[in-house]
């Protein structure tokens, strides 16, 4: 992922639109996790503490079916579900495994360490300044 962090943002040019900084998804979300959903799928949950950050990320467009497929280097057809879940302030998606969990050569039987690349997604936020 490209995108400058907050600190890298320079002073806004006079008359420009409100400056946009970015924050890592890891800073905005309460929980980012992955886990088996049955033996053929891994499901990913991004859960927020409050509605504000949830809506911010939901509207930002950085966490979508397309962006996730690009990040993990898979075709969109392998993403079986992509849903936003308002009651839990959560964004959730599910991918098909390349082989069933625990098959010889599968490095992650529980699917529990596949979320790490999500942490570094840069989310545009409107700068306070």
């Amino acid at each position: 992922m490209s995108g400058a962090g907050e600190d890298a943002m320079g002073a806004p040019a006079a008359g420009a639109a409100r400056p946009v900084a970015t924050r890592r998804l890891a800073e905005l979300a309460k929980t980012v996790r992955s886990k088996n959903a049955g033996v053929d799928r891994i499901t990913f949950d991004v859960i927020f503490q409050d509605r504000e950050n949830y809506e911010l990320v939901k509207r930002s467009g950085v966490l979508t079916r397309e962006s996730v497929a690009r990040l993990y280097g898979i075709s969109e057809s392998r993403i079986t579900d992509f849903v936003t879940f308002d009651p839990a302030y959560a964004i959730k998606f599910t991918i098909l495994r390349s082989r069933p969990s625990g098959s010889p050569g599968d490095p992650d039987i529980f699917g529990s360490q596949q979320y790490a690349p999500l942490l570094d997604i840069e989310v545009p936020v409107v700068s306070e300044g």
Binding site: T31, T43, D45, Y72, P87, Q114
Partner: protein, 467 residues
């Protein structure tokens, strides 16, 4: 009919995998619940336990929880229900839990009670006969229909029970039930349905309780939660002094370990949670209303099956030379080629070689976005799988040791291309794979399950088979 509410206590989301926490369990028991229940299984643990018919949980932890639950249930005079005995819910695991229950009863000289149990294993021949009669064993999660070849490659199949065997055993007077493989939620839904509560709320109750304190916050496993069902709602309460059930924690749990937070499928129908409303009822309790249940037109039971791939050995090699790090795929290709020269191509010779390259993409494999930026050193885990232990050992040893001799054009170090922390390979559990993740249509919801009830008495031993 019946009571306006019933209360269900769940102390553990996977009995045996880690012991229940005693304090919150005792606090929950003191509120005099109407049922004490836990799920003990999961397909999360991979295909090896089902295939080789073992538990991943230690007996001491399984017995610890069974003992706590049985003593509390008998003292209160309420039913105790366990589903998916011993991680896999295979027949041997059911027998093991039944024996533990008898043993605990003897040890504590418990007054006589009726124990119900059922088996979930389905013989391959039975599935084969259904297929021969034209029945299509439909695949789940994008799998195609079951083929004769995949069935043949399968060593053990369990059917995932819905509510039906539990309701039937309760009807037969069982006060303690040990279930074979079951849908987690069905364990809880069965007694609620039997007592006349609505399907939607009964299944939702099971859904929200099956993982115990994972529905509460802050995050903690193995703490007791209590669910209360009425004809209008389900209320779920954390028993641990430091946990609460909040709308966010309860709703969040609906997502856990499933593809979609709105729908959950059971033998007999689908729970639709898209209209659920969550509200804080008191400090530690969240109230849920609005789930729906959509009955399915035909009864399909999920089948899980594991088939053996072969015996398995493991080897390990480390790499520090930056040139070798950058050419690690060539090193692995060299080692594979040496094995192939000895045994022939893997598909023909019936072996598999797998390399997990830690420091590059060992954890995520093809999903790793940073696989082109390897670390300054790599650890390569090698797995060899073959029909016999002898062959698996040789495949693995050759596949590991030949990395040492890999011929890279510009390597400076010519006295060994990798580092060995041990110069040997070690035998690990045989390799299995999930061959069945399918559903089978049945006419009778009990036809795949074999039910038993027995009288158990603490002392002296006297048992009579009732059915």
């Amino acid at each position: 009919m019946g009571r306006p509410t019933l209360r269900f206590l769940c102390p553990n989301g996977h009995l045996g995998f880690a012991p229940l926490k005693v304090e919150s369990f005792e606090l929950g028991v003191a509120t005099r619940p109407d049922f004490i229940l836990a799920d003990s299984g999961s397909d999360d643990i991979g295909p090896v336990p089902l295939g080789s018919d073992v538990s991943t949980s230690p007996k001491e932890w399984q017995r610890h929880d069974l003992e706590k639950m049985l003593l509390a249930a008998r003292k209160l005079g309420v039913p105790m229900i366990i589903g998916s005995a011993g991680d896999t819910g295979s027949n041997s695991r059911v027998d093991m839990f039944v024996e533990m229950i008898r043993d605990i009863a003897r040890q504590h000289r418990l007054a006589p009670f009726r124990l119900g149990y059922f088996y979930s294993e389905v013989p391959k021949e039975k599935v084969g006969a259904k297929m021969a009669a034209g029945e299509v064993v439909e695949g789940l999660d994008g799998r195609g229909p079951l083929t004769a070849e995949e069935l043949e490659a399968t060593d053990r199949i369990v059917a995932v029970a819905g509510v039906h065997p539990y309701i039937e055993l309760l009807n037969r007077g069982a006060e303690v039930i040990i279930g074979g493989r079951s849908s987690d939620a069905a364990i809880f839904a069965a007694p609620a349905l039997r007592a006349g509560f609505p399907e939607a709320l009964s299944y939702y109750l099971g859904k929200v309780l099956e993982c115990a304190s994972f529905n509460a916050e802050p995050y903690a496993g193995k703490e007791t939660v209590i669910g209360e069902i009425s004809h209008e709602d389900v209320k779920v309460t954390a028993m641990s002094p430091y946990q609460r059930c909040t709308p966010a924690s309860v709703a969040g749990h609906a997502m856990y370990e499933r593809s979609n937070p709105y729908y959950e499928h059971f033998a007999g129908g689908t729970l639709d949670m898209s209209g659920c409303r969550y509200e804080q009822w008191d400090e530690k309790t969240t109230r849920v209303t609005g789930p729906k249940f959509v009955p399915s037109p035909e009864l399909r039971v999920k089948l899980e099956g594991a088939g053996k791939v072969g015996e398995r050995y493991m080897g390990f090699a480390g790499v520090r030379d930056p040139y070798t790090v950058s050419r690690i795929d060539d090193v692995i290709a060299w080692a594979r080629k040496q094995v192939e020269e000895r045994f022939g191509p893997p598909e023909q010779a019936g072996y598999e070689l797998h390399y997990l390259v830690y420091g590059r993409d060992g954890v995520m494999g093809e999903l790793e976005p940073l696989r082109h930026e390897p670390a300054h050193e790599l650890g390569v885990l090698v797995f060899g799988v073959a029909p016999t232990a002898e062959m698996a050992e040789e495949v693995t040893l050759m596949g590991t040791r030949q990395m040492f001799y890999a011929r890279l054009p510009d390597v400076k170090g010519t006295a060994g291309g990798v580092a060995f922390p041990i110069d040997e390979v070690v035998r690990v559990s045989p390799a299995y794979r999930w061959t069945l993740n399918h559903t089978l249509r049945v006419d009778d919801p009990l036809e795949l399950f074999e039910l038993h009830t027995v009288e158990v008495s603490g002392a002296p031993e006297r048992e009579e088979v009732v059915s």
